[in-house]
């Protein structure tokens, strides 16, 4: 005789089977159907489970990502694909105008998104609106400044881009291998902050090039995403130009002695925005996903994205992270009045949106970057 409080008799088994058979048709048909596929073109990480699994489960959808590395790569992938290939496109903000000009994205309905919840500074983000028509919605951003090994440089030393010329990092300064953030930072050091480090005349451009070339003896290498992580983590590089908390934030979680600050000369903001791909027939669910990402719980996920952290453009996002993870809110400055608060820095005119060169061609900047690397 069994001592168990539950004994499986033949009668119970039959009753259970009959019950299961009778209730099966009551299960929501949506869950029985194949999930709707949403094709996303994005930087790495945006369609990973930590970002989309909750939305996928709630809406019976499945994200299929195509990851790119850089705005040029993104534009090329769209150009080489038929319309409707991508339902949702995450792009760097400075490329939204090019997406729009090339006819790769659909116009969006502003009433669907909580712009009232955005910090006023981000409600009408440059390039996202054209004559009150909305083409893209900012979802997250981050700041690029001086990233450094905290065992080598003090925070005070890192509070100027001159830290890159510090003797302590000779031969140990890494560059994230992309001309825009690096040259933008040198441009800021040269005082080009009115209107923007990317809007400079030829004389200022010459000075930026000369100053950049003087940095050459400090340089230890030029790195991609993975190399930047590895070289900062293993101490091969003691300072890194062209990056910010999106790299060091991940490393800090691993216990690496690294940090990023926005120096006195100012920092550069990268901005990521969602657009709806031209020709998609899934506008409704894509809009719903963007609404989800802008909601407090979506923003908490975005702020803590495993691939690289970001900052929230919404007030409710700040409040949500302060409640969900106060340490992260403190670390990333998502607290009003915090000395590294992005809104405070923006109001102090110490943050400039990353942009393409306004008075030179992108090719000129790129050519100089190649020359600098081989100099």
């Amino acid at each position: 005789m069994s001592n168990s409080s539950f004994t499986l008799t033949r009668r119970r088994l039959l009753a259970g089977a009959a019950g299961a058979a009778l209730t099966a048709p009551m299960i929501n048909r949506a869950w029985a159907a194949d999930p709707v596929t949403i094709n996303m073109l994005a930087w790495y990480g945006h369609a990973e489970p930590d970002m989309v699994s909750e939305f996928e489960a709630e809406n019976n959808v499945k994200f299929v990502p195509k990851y790119y590395a850089g705005g040029d790569n993104m534009l090329a992938l769209i150009a080489q694909s038929p319309p409707g290939t991508y339902d949702i496109i995450l792009s760097d903000a400075e490329f939204v105008q090019q997406l729009n000009a090339a006819g790769y994205i659909e116009q969006m309905d502003p009433s669907l998104f909580p712009f009232d919840d955005f910090w006023p500074e981000y409600q009408k983000f440059p390039g996202h609106w054209a004559d009150d028509e909305l083409w893209s919605v900012m979802v997250r951003f981050g700041l690029l400044g001086v990233s450094y090994n905290t065992d080598t440089l003090t925070r005070e030393e890192a509070m100027s881009y001159n830290a890159f010329w510090n003797d302590k990092v000779t031969g140990k300064l890494g560059h994230f291998d992309w001309h825009l953030p690096n040259l933008g930072q040198i441009s800021l050091l040269m005082g080009n902050n009115d209107p923007s480090p990317f809007d400079i005349d030829d004389a200022a451009w010459d000075a930026v090039q000369e100053k950049t070339l003087s940095l050459k003896p400090q340089v230890g290498g030029y790195f991609d995403y993975g190399g930047t992580f590895a070289s900062l983590k293993n101490g091969e590089m003691l300072a890194m130009a062209g990056i910010g908390d999106w790299i060091t934030g991940v490393l800090q979680k691993d216990g690496a002695p690294v940090a990023s600050v926005i120096p006195e000369e100012g920092g550069i903001q990268w901005t990521e925005s969602y657009s709806i791909g031209k020709g998609t027939d899934k506008q409704e669910i894509v809009n719903k996903f963007i609404q989800y990402m802008l909601s407090p719980r979506g923003q908490v996920r975005s702020i803590q994205m495993a691939a690289y952290p970001g900052l929230s453009p919404t007030k409710s996002g700040w409040k949500a992270i302060q409640e969900a993870n106060p340490a992260e809110a403190e670390r990333s400055g998502l607290i009003e009045g915090h000395d590294q608060s992005p809104i405070k820095l923006l109001n102090e005119k110490r943050i400039f949106f990353r942009d393409i060169p306004q008075q030179q061609s992108l090719e000129d900047w790129n050519d100089f970057w190649s020359e600098y690397k081989t100099a």
């Binding site: 590395a69 850089g70 040029d72 790569n73 534009l75 090329a76 150009a79 080489q80 090339a102 031969g171 890494g174 291998d177 340089v219 230890g220 290498g221 030029y222 790195f223 991609d224 190399g227 590895a230 070289s231 293993n234 101490g235 091969e236 992108l362 090719e363 790129n366 050519d367 190649s370 020359e371 690397k373 081989t374 100099a375």
Partner: protein, 280 residues
């Protein structure tokens, strides 16, 4: 009665010809043609303009990358040949047949693992905080900067080519007619004279092949100069990546690639001439 065509040998050659035509000559022609195309709005458009050639060959950074690539590949090829030779000589002349077979097997084993994985392993080993510097530190040396340098890149090149060079040299030396060596001894040649006047000339095809393969593989390698050399300075393969990333300039990247292929053809033909050329 008309003579029958010898079909049999042609049938056996056909797969190779088709393979080479489809996967070498065809893409090569396409690449050369592409170097004259244009990019508009991130799309390539067939054209016949010399802009890409003028732009790439007119830039100092291209020539800097070109000469550093030739230099580093040459250093790697010579170093690999010099380091390999004593080992190959030993395997060819000083060990048993069985030991040689095992040695060849162990030289092939590194190719069972991804080259990229081996390079990542070197990143750990060569780091300033890595085990090599730790050991050197115990005897009061270092730390030395080995990663993100020409030294690091060269270590990577040798990782790629050294086993292959040893294998080629070993096969070549092992096939040297022993009677020639005995004859040299009988005629009173000392070890040095036997080595330089008999063994090396007799094995020169394999030795030159090893040198050339080392050069070719190092010349086109992207992984070592990028992950161990820190792109400092960029080589031609890194320049190709940079060029395609920036504005999707595949036609300009094709110019770099064509220049690399032309260089390798010149080197390969010169090597074949040196290996098989008649002795005066």
């Amino acid at each position: 009665m008309p003579k029958r065509l010898p079909v049999y040998p042609y049938v056996w050659r056909l797969p190779l010809l088709i393979w080479q035509g489809l996967f070498f000559v065809g893409p090569l022609i396409l690449m050369v043609a592409m170097s004259f195309w244009l990019v508009r709005n991130y799309r390539m458009e067939p054209a016949f303009v010399f802009d890409n050639w003028e732009r790439m060959l007119g830039r100092d950074y291209f020539w800097n990358a070109y000469f550093i690539t030739v230099w580093r590949a040459s250093v790697a090829a010579v170093l690999a040949s010099l380091i390999a030779f004593p080992a190959s000589f030993t395997l060819a002349f000083r060990v048993s047949e069985s030991a040689r077979r095992w040695a060849i097997f162990f030289l092939i084993v590194p190719f069972f693992t991804s080259y990229l994985v081996r390079i990542y392993a070197w990143q750990v080993l060569l780091a300033e905080s890595g085990p090599i510097n730790a050991v050197l530190g115990m005897v009061g040396l270092g730390p030395f900067t080995m990663l993100n340098s020409g030294f690091g890149a060269t270590v990577g090149y040798l990782t790629l080519v050294l086993p292959l060079v040893v294998i080629l040299q070993t096969f070549s030396l092992a096939s040297v007619d022993r009677n020639l060596i005995e004859a040299a001894w009988n005629l009173g040649a000392n070890r040095r004279a036997t080595l330089f006047r008999v063994i090396i000339p007799a094995a020169k095809v394999g030795l030159i092949l090893g040198l050339v393969f080392a050069f070719i593989l190092s010349f086109g390698d992207f992984v070592s100069p990028f992950y161990l050399g820190g792109s400092k300075p960029p080589t031609l393969s890194i320049l190709i990546i940079d060029t395609t990333k920036s504005g999707q300039q595949w036609p300009r990247a094709a110019v770099v690639a064509v220049m690399m292929i032309v260089t390798l053809f010149v080197v390969a033909f010169a090597a074949v001439g040196a290996a098989y050329g008649r002795r005066k």
